[in-house]
Amino acid sequence: MMNLLRLLGGRTASAPVARERLQILLAHERGLRGQPDLLGLLRAEILAVVSRHVVLDPEKVIVRMDRGKHVSTLEVDIEVPNGFERSIAAAAT
């Protein structure tokens, strides 16, 4: 049926794509509704944990979520100043 429509219209039916994208997106957005800002929370706690060991610039902690159809990835990007290994070694002694 879809192929027939395609042939007739000479164009791809884009509505099914629209529908699928919306379903994925809205399932996610509804889940977040009314909940505290998950990424903000993760960022604050990660910052707190890492800061116990390394001196960090809070601005340099980036937490990002990428949504895929089946799995999502959580990306945590922390910039640490050079020489932090020494501060860990110092803390250990």
Binding site: L8, G9, A13, A15, P16, A18, R19, L22, R33, G34
Partner: protein, 271 residues
């Protein structure tokens, strides 16, 4: 008992003002006493669509601030005795509209009208939340397009949490009104179908308003489409939607000028 109905959408330019005017006029024609209230502070348009722009003296904010009495701000429609307009202000100060002010104006309107139709501004900010705050019912105007459906979903979430009814543990009665629907494009699969939209939003359908030149024509001359060309497809669709608001069971069709196959294919009942 008076009913407060908010016409809302999240996304801008989907047809809220057009729908408020058309539904308001249709309800008034059926004998209901109706006031349409423009909540779009700073960007009022309902007066233009109703052809009352030159008769505005006082507005909603004047009433809220006590500068004018409600009776001084209400404008009676020249064609329909039962239809009134409470215009928005052109002020740039959106904070002039307060929750308490809106509460007291709506309470006052409830004693005078059968229907209070609130034309919401676009967005999810203060203006939109105040427009829905005291609503008993909501018409969520949605275009068959991803961004509009997404915003409608967001607005539905707000109706279920930020309204006085929701805070009391009651429910705002919600209806989806699909506007600017192009049945030819939907049949070719270029546009989200009615089924898709209703399934995604999980909210009953109030009506399907076709994309039509008649809407623009009506707004050009300052007359709700239901009055300007009652026989046109969008006018008939709005009248059907208004009858459903009154509780009538009206068979759902996609009104098209050329009656036939398409109509039968797309015909369905209201949820």
């Amino acid at each position: 008992m008076a009913k407060v109905l908010v016409v809302t959408s999240g996304k801008g330019g989907v047809g809220k003002t057009t729908s408020t005017a058309a539904l308001g006029a249709a309800l008034a024609q059926m004998g209901e006493k109706v006031v349409v209230v423009d909540f779009d502070v700073g960007l009022r348009n309902l007066d233009l669509v109703l052809g009352a722009e030159r008769r505005v003296v006082f507005d909603l904010i004047n009433v809220v601030q006590g500068v004018a009495k409600l009776s001084q701000a209400l404008i009676r429609d020249k064609r329909l005795d039962n239809l009134w307009l409470l215009p928005a202000s052109q002020t740039r100060d959106k904070d002039a509209l307060t929750d308490e002010g809106v509460r007291s104006v709506i309470a006052d309107l409830r004693t005078k009208f059968d229907w209070i139709l609130c034309d919401s501004p676009a967005g999810i900010e203060r203006g939109a939340t105040l427009a829905m705050r005291y609503a008993d019912e909501a018409v969520i105007v949605t275009n068959p397009e991803v961004s509009s459906v997404r915003d409608s979903d967001r607005i539905i979430g707000m109706l279920d949490s930020k309204t006085v009814k929701a805070e009391r543990g009651e429910r705002v009665e919600k209806h989806v009104l699909i506007t600017r629907y192009d049945s030819a494009r939907a049949a070719r699969g270029e546009m989200l179908s009615i089924e898709d939209i209703l399934e995604i939003l999980a909210t009953p359908l109030l009506g399907i308003i076709p994309e039509s030149q008649d809407v623009l024509r009506a707004s050009n001359v300052g007359s709700p489409v239901t009055l300007n060309n009652a026989a046109s497809a969008p006018a008939r669709a709005y009248v059907d939607a208004a009858r459903r608001l009154l509780g009538e069971a009206v068979t759902m069709t996609v009104p098209v000028e050329r009656k036939g196959l398409m109509n039968r294919l797309l015909g369905r009942r209201a949820a």
